[in-house]
Point group: C2
Chain length 434, copies 2
């Protein structure tokens, strides 16, 4: 018995959601998925289990060690996907060769990371996201950020903060010191993990004092007000024309944000994200209820090339399970009315007649049907109907079956009325709402 | 390069679906999920990764050897769930103790089995299903079968066949020969796999000639017409009162099916299903386009007891990926019109103004927006808009931005009209549809 008792718990870090809990999750997914569709993003599906070699291409040190990794029955090294972008990029490269650019795709998928569970951090979690392939234009950067903001607003979140950075600027400065991409990935990974000391130590071994100073200055930018930020940045980046050019893009994004998210965004030019594939603008979204980000994204222009096609890209994903923890999320009201269906005598003919009545009732919009399957007295059936918050009950016995009629009892006032089988469909809603 | 090329393929038996392909899958899931809700089933979510010990409780020999099984980083024996019922039953036992009965829950979830891939058989596949807990009444059996049929009809499938059997009858006959449940599970597993010779050999070793004969007769029932079936069954089961009593339930179900699925169902009393937990009515659904079942279900009254609460149950699931292979599925027509948004000059102010226009346009119902992010000449932009089947394009340049106006070009006849920023939202649909 004890053995069974133990086995029934879900694994640590994994969750089970009841209908009441899942309702919120479903609302978030459906609302945001509808928004993505509105902006031309078509949903795709990719495998939950992927070759280790695919995911290792660009997932980054931080996640690499926390993957669900194993050998399948065919002795292949496989992983449960820890994120969605790499698989979606592979799908676009493989199967959407003839699509006119830009290619817009979205996904809702579960991800797996062997993290230490905490509030908002689970070992299985759902991402809803999208990717925009083919454009290098700053317009696509802004489209992505715009939809990210719209997504939060659509589910009721008005109080949020966007943190932005730019990995192109960081990489262009590192390139000046002849640091190659592989090493750039490692260094930016350190910044992401907040290992600033290690970062500066590694950089100082390169002996590039100028570069060191620039990074020290960039680290401070998050403390700047939006106004002083521009002057400071132009000063810091003065000796790096390639980085300055990238900064012009940032200014266009900032001009958009001043209108769209006034007071709700800040730039931190010392900020990097854990995934290795970012090459331009990056951003994360925060809500006051949670210390971890509820979503993030950015530009990754070199990932697709690794997979066989040179396509620039920018994308974004939200953590649905984290959004569920925000008290700002307002789920839509239930429009449907619940009606119980009660069978008085459970013989073959009365049961068949009941399902014929159900076939009529299922055509009525905004009416949900709960057929009573528990037996017992009419009194106990009515009691159950009240517990389940049904608005009315449809009562069918031998008498109703032979006469081809149906009795309906309104539960708020107990009024009962008899309808013919034919008129029921037309008249039930009106009677219930009286 | 060759190495990369190899790693980009999905694993054998796993699929990636483009927006065009996924549209059909999403239509099936949304339609059936809506139906489940109509009948009072609330959606739940359970983990993809489960303790081996949970799944092994009752999954059956057939599936046990084909699971994705591994040790996680905490050295636990875990599996990717091969089916949904066991986890859902655990959730109901664990977390829905205070819910009035019956408890109705539904799920949409991916399952994993290391099968040899073939048409309609993948290593990862989506089940949409529901479970009905707490009722022993034949009304709940019929409710489940009724919804199964409704689900097929809702997505356009009118040509289908239901195969029914009853494991209670089989188990009650085996019990007469003092065969215990564990051994019953093994014997019924043989029937499921079509290992009839092994089944009879094992049974004959028990020396129960009477039982052997009954099973030989039951095997032939699927060839009977519906009319003769009743007499034959009553004769076969004459010496087994417990089995005969169960047959009375079957008669009630058959009376319902004669009306609901006339000519589309048959009983095969020698039929058993691979999952070990079934204890009563079982059924499978077939469509002519596919040799494997597109769905199935049945009654399992002893599973919940193993998990800590004695709850009878009956449930059902459909294989979404198999349904996708049916040519009968009719997806709903796209209502939305696609409109392109074209930016002539990509400076900060024009871009910002464009997104202000987008903020207006996103309020228009049934309008999907595709912002052009590819740059180039107006001619190439219009060409792309035509390729993407957009019905109109919204054109914004420096001029429009300074004058707070917007130009809209209808693509079917090339007519272009200028709107003020304020009037656009009200008038665009009318102009496009002219």
């Amino acid at each position: 018995m004890n053995n069974v008792k133990k086995s029934i718990e879900p694994l640590r870090g994994f969750r089970e959601l009841t209908p009441e809990e899942y309702k919120k999750k479903k609302f978030i997914i459906e609302s945001i998925s509808e928004l993505f569709e509105k902006y031309g993003y078509g949903e795709v599906e990719t495998p939950t289990v992927e070759p280790l070699s695919l995911i290792e291409l660009k997932v980054g040190e931080e996640i690499r060690h926390r993957m669900f990794r194993f050998k399948d029955l065919g002795d292949r090294d496989v992983v449960l996907r820890p994120e969605g972008t790499i698989s979606v990029a592979r799908l676009v490269v493989n199967k959407m060769k003839n699509e006119p650019l830009p290619i817009r795709v979205s996904y809702v998928a579960n991800m797996f990371r062997y993290d230490e569970p905490q509030k908002g951090r689970y070992r299985e979690f759902t991402h809803i996201g999208f990717e925009h392939f083919g454009s290098r234009s700053v317009v696509s950067d802004i489209e992505v950020i715009n939809i990210a903001i719209e997504a939060l607003k659509k589910i009721g979140i008005e109080s949020f903060k966007i943190k932005l950075g730019n990995e192109a600027i960081l990489r262009k400065i590192l390139s000046e010191a002849n640091i190659e991409q592989k090493e750039q990935d490692l260094l930016l990974g350190m910044l992401d993990r907040g290992e600033n000391e290690e970062f500066f130590e590694k950089l100082s071994r390169k002996g590039e004092e100028k570069i060191l100073n620039v990074f020290r200055e960039l680290m401070k930018t998050k403390e700047n007000s939006v106004g002083e930020s521009e002057q400071t940045l132009r000063k810091i980046l003065a000796g790096f024309p390639a980085a300055l050019e990238e900064y012009e893009r940032v200014r266009i994004i900032e001009n958009f944000l001043e209108w769209k998210a006034n007071g709700k965004y800040y730039f931190d030019f010392g900020f990097a994200r854990g995934l290795e594939y970012y090459t331009g603008i990056i951003f994360e979204l925060y809500v006051p209820e949670l210390s971890v980000a509820v979503g993030g994204g950015g530009r990754y222009d070199s990932l697709c090339k690794l997979l066989g096609r040179d396509l620039p890209a920018v994308g974004f994903a939200l953590g649905v399970d984290r959004l569920m923890l925000s008290s700002q999320v307002k789920t839509a009201k239930q429009k449907s009315k619940k009606v119980g269906v009660i069978i008085l005598e459970e013989d073959a003919e009365t049961i068949k007649y009941t399902f014929q009545v159900v076939e009529q009732l299922k055509e009525v919009e905004n009416l949900n049907l709960e057929i009573d399957t528990m037996g017992g007295s009419l009194g106990s059936k009515i009691e159950r109907a009240l517990k389940k918050n049904e608005e009315a009950i449809v009562i069918i016995g031998k008498k109703e079956q032979t006469e081809k009629r149906v009795s309906v009892k309104r539960l708020k006032d107990g009024v009962q009325k008899s309808f013919s089988y034919e008129e029921l469909k037309e008249k039930i809603l009106e009677f219930i709402e009286q």
